[in-house]
């Protein structure tokens, strides 16, 4: 290798470093998209566990397996990513959002979802007039390639839980 070639390589190393720094900075701003990609897909609700508390202590529990399927579409349009579902048992946390409907018909409006940071998943309903009717924000306890675990809580007091629901979803 000639001296001239060696000097050119050193120059290229410098510019590669510059490009790497720029790529690092840009990638840091793409996190919201990343979480949406990770959470989108077809998910089987493998289990719903429901715990009821009295005075901060677990009082009774119930669980349901294979409770249905969620289709979380990545429309790249937070917060308007369309959600479809088919439930054999509707998670109680969603009852409020769905208004007791076993399935949402087009005439009922639209169900949408979006991540808010990696820690939160929001599901919300819009009526046919485009007005937000209700929503639920889950805590994302676990997010892996093929597994997602969501928690929904109703507090009894400032520090105690009245109801805790854990949804375990597996990617189909």
């Amino acid at each position: 290798m000639t001296d001239k070639t060696g000097k050119h390589i050193k120059k290229y190393k410098f510019f590669i470093l510059c490009i790497a720094v720029i790529a690092f900075l840009i990638s840091g701003c793409e996190k919201d998209n990343k979480y949406r990609h990770q959470m989108s897909g077809v998910w089987n609700i493998e289990s719903i566990s429901m715990e009821y508390y009295t005075d901060g202590n677990p009082d009774s529990t119930a669980s349901v397996s294979d409770a249905g399927v969620w289709l979380l579409t990545d429309n790249a349009l937070d917060p308007y990513n369309i959600m479809e579902y088919e439930h054999t048992c509707t998670p109680p946390s969603l009852n409020y959002v769905l208004g007791g409907l076993p399935a949402l018909q087009p005439s009922d409006g639209e169900l949408d979802w979006y991540p808010a940071g990696e820690e939160r998943l929001t599901i919300w309903a819009i009526d046919p007039n485009g007005i937000t009717e209700s929503f639920v924000i889950y805590t994302v306890q676990k997010l892996r390639k093929n597994t997602m675990e969501l928690i929904f809580i109703i507090p009894e007091s400032t520090s105690h839980i009245a109801y805790k629901e854990v949804l375990v979803l597996k990617r189909i």
Partner: protein, 264 residues
């Protein structure tokens, strides 16, 4: 913001590659102090004093990392670096529940000043413009240990905003092998540029739409007043914690020097 950053970086790197330059990276520690967060902290603690076992403390010392590159031409030093720091503050209630506030700051600093780079040592005293992001993630830990970011607690949220400030840095290093140096720097983040940054807001879409929970859009400067006015338009729309986190930071790490044979 991305485009602005890229332009700044490209301008920085458009300086001749024919001078002495170095690349460096290391770990850092320091403090993240904020006048507005202190106001929130004081009013928050005051409002909750009857149910508090351990009041909300301050952030810090924070830990993080930094990296960058700089050039020296005729005693003038110009460069770019990026760094992060993170820290946590929490309040503990009498019934063992806790509220956590995780602070994260990412800053890019474009700087210039005086200095000297050589293969055996370097030093510099620089002034720079810091631009980046301040973020506070607030979540609740119930007395049984369950943590929640959910909508049942209205202070739960991820609050962030653009940060812009000044940065004064003193740095120096000595060689440990050919072209590899150990460096240290002290950096003062100061003087957040007024009106160039805003309040730390949670841009969660539903925070402002729910008519029942009166979610605050940020961390209220006067928590007691906010609780009294809950949901009222009387509470100032700008009266929230701002992106004004500053303080003294220290960094140590390794630096690789490239001599002026480049481009000769």
């Amino acid at each position: 913001m991305n485009r602005i950053l890229v332009i700044i970086i490209l301008l920085t790197f458009s300086f001749p590659a024919f001078s002495q330059f170095g690349v460096f990276g290391g770990v850092r520690t320091g403090w993240a102090t904020s006048k507005t967060f202190n106001r929130f902290k004081q009013t928050f603690n005051s409002y909750l004093t009857d149910v508090t076992e351990k009041p909300l403390g301050s952030f810090g010392p924070s830990i993080g990392y930094g990296f960058g590159t700089d050039y020296e031409v005729g005693g003038l030093l110009v460069g770019f670096r990026a760094n992060t720091i993170a820290s946590t503050a929490r309040i503990k209630y009498t019934d063992n529940a806790k509220r956590h506030f995780d602070f994260d700051q990412f800053l890019t600093v474009t700087y210039f000043g005086i200095g000297n780079n050589s293969e055996s040592s370097f030093y510099g005293l620089t002034f720079g413009l810091a631009a980046g992001n301040d973020k506070i993630t607030s979540y609740f830990e119930y007395s049984d240990g369950t943590t929640s970011y959910g909508s049942e607690k209205y202070l739960n949220g991820i609050y962030d905003a653009i940060h812009m400030s000044g940065a004064i840095t003193a740095q120096g290093g000595v060689a440990i092998t050919d072209n590899v140096l150990v460096y240290g720097l002290a950096e003062l983040i100061f003087g957040n540029i007024p009106d160039a940054f805003g309040c730390l807001y949670d841009d969660h879409h539903h925070r402002s739409l729910d008519p029942f929970t009166e979610y605050p859009t940020g961390l209220p400067l006067d928590y007691e007043e906010y609780m009294e006015l809950m949901g009222s338009f009387d509470y100032g729309v700008e009266d929230y914690v701002k992106a004004d986190f500053s303080g003294l930071r220290f960094e140590i790490g390794l630096r690789i020097q490239f001599g002026n044979e480049i481009g000769e």
